[in-house]
Symmetry: C2
Subunit: 398 residues, 2 copies
Amino acid sequence: MTFSLSRRTLLGGALGLAGLELMRPATSLAMASSLRHQPGIMLPQLPFLYFITFDLTAEKKADVADMMRAWTEAAEALMAHRPAPHLVDSGDVDGLEPASLTLTFGFGPGLFTKEGKDRYGLADRRPAPLADLPRFTGDQLVPAHTGGDVCIQSCATDPQTAFHAIRILARLADGRATPRWAQTGFSPEFGRHQTPRNLMGFKDGTIQPDIANPAVAKRVLWAAPTDEAWMQGGTYLVARIIRIALEHWDRTRTGFQEETMGRQKQSGAPIGGHHENEPLTLSQTDKDGNPVTSENAHARLAAPQENGGAELLRRSYSYDNGLSYIAERWPPWRQGNEFDAGLMFLAYQQDPRTAFTRIFERMSKFDMMNQYTTHIGSGLFACPGRLDGHYVGEELLG
Amino acid sequence: MTFSLSRRTLLGGALGLAGLELMRPATSLAMASSLRHQPGIMLPQLPFLYFITFDLTAEKKADVADMMRAWTEAAEALMAHRPAPHLVDSGDVDGLEPASLTLTFGFGPGLFTKEGKDRYGLADRRPAPLADLPRFTGDQLVPAHTGGDVCIQSCATDPQTAFHAIRILARLADGRATPRWAQTGFSPEFGRHQTPRNLMGFKDGTIQPDIANPAVAKRVLWAAPTDEAWMQGGTYLVARIIRIALEHWDRTRTGFQEETMGRQKQSGAPIGGHHENEPLTLSQTDKDGNPVTSENAHARLAAPQENGGAELLRRSYSYDNGLSYIAERWPPWRQGNEFDAGLMFLAYQQDPRTAFTRIFERMSKFDMMNQYTTHIGSGLFACPGRLDGHYVGEELLG
């Protein structure tokens, strides 16, 4: 713990000194000990995602450390479009153009405490913001798509490259971690400065914290200076697999879709507004005194001003897993195959307790959109910053 | 049947007259009755696939005809990047660049006979090449990913556009057909004139019939002149979901991978050869008299000269469904999550009996690659040609 405390001091200093250097993308294992963020967090996001979580099977902390060292080294090579060292590359991206690959690692609650056990002697270093998410109203989480002791977010301009990296890293996990769940995603390029549309056909991501402003990023995105030393330069990821009843949504008239969303479909403008980027019409009323944007519209319930200023950085992707069988006993027309598709919601934030959880606790109860969406998977991860020349998590595991 | 016979005569004439016109892409419902092929069959193939099959629930042939008319009309609009008529578009591709969408329709055996019943009075018009596929050695077909009375192949340059079209068409099927199974796929662009690599890391598609040569296409790809009148200008599709044990493959040394494939991994050249496009070394022996290309190598067993000249046009995609649980009782290390990924094999041919079935009957018994691959889904479809101004299948259903 002495090491941890002195490290905290060091990191606090590094943070202060590094300043704008924090925005520098990770490219190589340099010698200097400047602190940097992991790639794959800042915007813009790349069009393809492979997200995977693992259960740790390692018996000792040193084995976890070895894996993170191997993962970091391999990630550096892969992001530089070189073959990963120490193994024979699977070769499936040989000849593909470099695909801007980013690899982002996170630690779930199970690294610290699993089934009540402090497996690796790390329980007292679990950061407070990594508190287990509560059970939200309407949650239908499937254990096979929930949790994980470690996660990797792989993003690229093509899906084969994103998957290739995960295959390599999964091999390097051998004997120390086993895959738990995975979800791919896509978010095609809608053109420069255009907000992409998700599968509901609405623009998704209009309101984002202005993380290009370092003061905003420091307040909203990056771990607080008072957080654990090993989390300095890091952030917290909430992942939710949100299945959308597309058949139901597609049969809903556009006017009701817009009321549900709290925005106009074509333009993305607020209800009663004209432009995508103008403020939401949260306080306006119509001639009968009713709110222009419904009390339970999605955009209202998500808005920072309705949540005590709570904000998070969304990096969501659409997902599409083909079909799956819906089998309710009643009504009979609800039996049959439906699209197994929706939103792979990924959000980064300084503290999920005051960001995702704060926002979603109310949303899960009241959002009109809950008629169409079901959260079927979930994960919570601490994504540490990184000192140049160190592997991801070295300040925790080393 | 009189109508059918006169139609056959007409089509025979049209085929003869149309000549090179057959290669013209489908763009609009024109007035002239020239015969054309469906889009999505000729090469090159687009990078993203959404493949879906449906079970027909329509009670009458006229209902199937109505659906095919609506599907054809919607497909024309969608391929021209216009909203489909008669419904409110889901809007999820508004603002995306046109994505070269192609939509290809096929009829499965169940349109003609289902559970022994001639539901639509079409049993005697079932084409001979649409004979049920035999059960092949090693088949582990999952009913939920096998069969289908109708199929749609949707290809595009982005996955959202490919899926968008399927959503529209599935809505138009309402009350007449229900989704049975679906599989997405990808095949990124490896550069002009480069053969793409599949997830095994080998080039896939080096040997293809030269369908740019009309004589070859006529012999290999398009329905024979002696086939049913309504199949003139059409072709037959065999779809197989081939799961690849990627973890196992990735742990196999490259030399054995190459022996299994019958090709070199990096260059794609035959064993003992130097260039991807040189002939396979099927008759060469080494100094000990052993064949240079193993007797049971994949490339040998697939080669036309080892199959009495049998050929088919492959249009395969890699697929990636995340993870799924493998639970064999023994050995215990085979229990756990593995990548649920592999090859969505799509092949077009004049007659599956003398093409896919002929080739795969031997391959399924002897191919060294069977150690790594399992066929878990299957479909067989007749994809008719189309007369200008007619809907797909009108010569059968009209």
